[in-house]
């Protein structure tokens, strides 16, 4: 039997547990225990997260609140499914703010900051080249 596979079975969350603000255990179950699959989307977040935050900012800057709302909604869904509870919560607040036509600056900055931290953390823990 392959040694890496053996390790993965005995301790499937190796590395993932080091991620703060991510419910790795629950989310790994969501991926049916397929750690490689989960890691792939976490690493993908390193580029996707900042890009999504940037798109939301641009939409708000352009006055396209409807587009910004849809983007924030999608981002909320994605972070929720990846187990990023803090980011999910911030995205939800931003979406609500947009829907209620309230000032978004505070939540947008919070989102960008948290996304940047999460991306760096993932990159540090898992490495950008770690994919399926």
């Amino acid at each position: 039997m392959d040694t890496s596979t053996e390790q993965s079975i005995s301790n499937p969350a190796t590395g993932l547990q080091a991620l703060r603000g991510v419910q790795t255990r629950e989310t790994l179950a969501r991926f049916a225990g397929d750690e490689a699959r989960y890691r792939h989307w976490l690493v993908e977040f390193i580029s996707h997260g900042p890009a999504a935050a940037k798109q939301i900012r641009e939409a708000i800057a352009n006055g396209s609140l409807e587009t910004a709302t849809v983007l924030a909604h999608s981002f909320k869904g994605r972070t929720g499914m990846l187990g990023m509870t803090e980011l999910h919560s911030i995205a939800q607040s931003l979406e609500m703010t947009l829907r209620n036509n309230e000032p978004t600056a505070l939540w947008l900055e919070e989102l960008e900051l948290t996304v940047a931290e999460m991306s760096k953390q993932i990159s540090d823990v898992l490495g950008e080249g770690s994919t399926r």
């Binding site: 991926f31 699959r37 999608s74 499914m81 990846l82 187990g83």
Partner: protein
């Protein structure tokens, strides 16, 4: 869950689609789409057993796709589960209004998704089972209706059969019954020495007679090729065009025609008995008339004899009295002869009176015979 259970998942987020695959693929067949339009394009060729729809989609949203699914007669029975991060009562109501069966909120737990998919699968199985049961019930109902109709035709024939007074009527009735069952065939009736073979083509056609004569001794029910023969003592019924493609209908026809042929046989037997009775009554009538005629002849002869005897006695008395003057007899001799003749005449008169009584007896007998003949 069965891997043949096919699920179409529509979501614009590849992470969600990947998670859906990870959870469901071991148990279901999954097809994923990034938009409603992609899904619609596939629906032209393939139908799933369940839809999992995101609501916020690029282009057509999940509600609109759901409405289109529910408006499509070919898809409307397929359950739809919305999968959305819009966890508000308004969103859920919109989902139900669009025709969705259930709602899952992102982020969801794998167990929740699996259970809801399982419930949808059970619902689908129950629907299919009910549909099958409904189809079976409908088929059974059609069969019963058809059978009742066929039985009705038979009952109508049997009720008419009782009133049929000739072999012609019976044969025609039987051919008519076969026609109502969409059958073509031949009927042969045998009553006493009279045998007749009838079909729609005519009466006593040589070929048909030859075939019937060949099959009439082949047992009560005899089948060959598309033909079916029902043999009874006084009737043979042969069907030429059994609908072999419908074995159930063939079976029912076999029963109906057997009952009909048996009924005809009984009716022909009754007609035979009636005919024998008619002949016996006719013979008795003729005999009674003959006896009556003989009595009248006897009566006439008796009357003639009585009249002739009376005349002869009167002549004898007159001749005797006239002879007394020519013979010159003494008073005593005349008295002796007169007494002797008188005595014989008295006895003769008694005999003549007895003849009158005989005449009266004969007349009464004739009157009684007349009454019997009139019955």
């Amino acid at each position: 869950m069965s891997s043949s259970f096919k699920v179409f998942v529509v979501d614009d987020d590849p992470v969600i689609l990947d998670i859906m695959r990870a959870i469901l693929e071991p148990d279901c067949t999954i097809q994923t789409f990034f938009s409603s339009e992609d899904c619609q394009a596939r629906l032209a060729d393939e139908k799933p057993d369940l839809f999992l729809l995101d609501i916020n989609l690029p282009g057509m949203d999940g509600y609109s796709l759901c409405r289109q699914i529910k408006d499509d007669g070919n898809l409307c029975n397929i359950p739809v589960i919305f999968v959305s991060s819009n966890d508000t009562i308004e969103e859920r109501i919109r989902g139900y209004d669009a025709g969705g069966e259930d709602f899952i909120v992102k982020p969801f737990e794998p167990e929740e998704l699996l259970r809801k998919v399982m419930v949808a699968q059970n619902m689908l199985l129950q629907q299919r089972s009910l549909r099958t049961q409904a189809e079976d019930a409908e088929m059974l109902s059609s069969l019963v209706m058809a059978s009742m109709d066929e039985t009705g035709i038979l009952l109508q024939f049997m009720s008419k059969l009782i009133a049929m007074e000739s072999t012609d009527d019976v044969a025609e009735g039987l051919l008519d019954l076969m026609g109502r069952y969409r059958l073509d065939g031949v009927v042969q009736t045998r009553l006493g020495n009279a045998t007749q073979t009838r079909s729609a083509a005519g009466r006593n056609l040589p070929l048909e007679v030859a075939v019937i004569e060949h099959v009439r001794d082949q047992g009560r029910i005899f089948e060959f090729s598309r033909r079916s023969v029902h043999n009874f003592d006084r009737v043979t019924l042969m069907v030429n065009n059994l609908p072999l493609s419908d074995p159930d209908y063939c079976g029912r026809l076999r029963d109906h025609l057997s009952v009909a042929a048996q009924g005809v046989d009984s009716r022909l037997k009754a007609l035979q008995v009636d005919e024998a009775n008619r002949r016996a009554q006719s013979g008795i009538q003729a005999a009674l008339e003959s006896v009556g005629d003989t009595i009248m002849e006897l009566s006439d002869a008796n009357r003639s004899n009585s009249e002739a005897s009376t005349m002869l006695v009167n002549d004898l008395q007159e001749t005797l009295l006239n002879s007394f003057y020519r013979l010159g007899l003494t008073d005593n001799q005349e008295q002796f002869l007169q007494d002797m003749v008188g005595d014989f005449m008295t006895r003769m008169a008694a005999l003549l009176n007895h003849g009158i009584e005989t005449q009266q007896t004969l007349e009464r007998l004739n009157t009684r015979l007349g009454e019997l003949r009139s019955f």
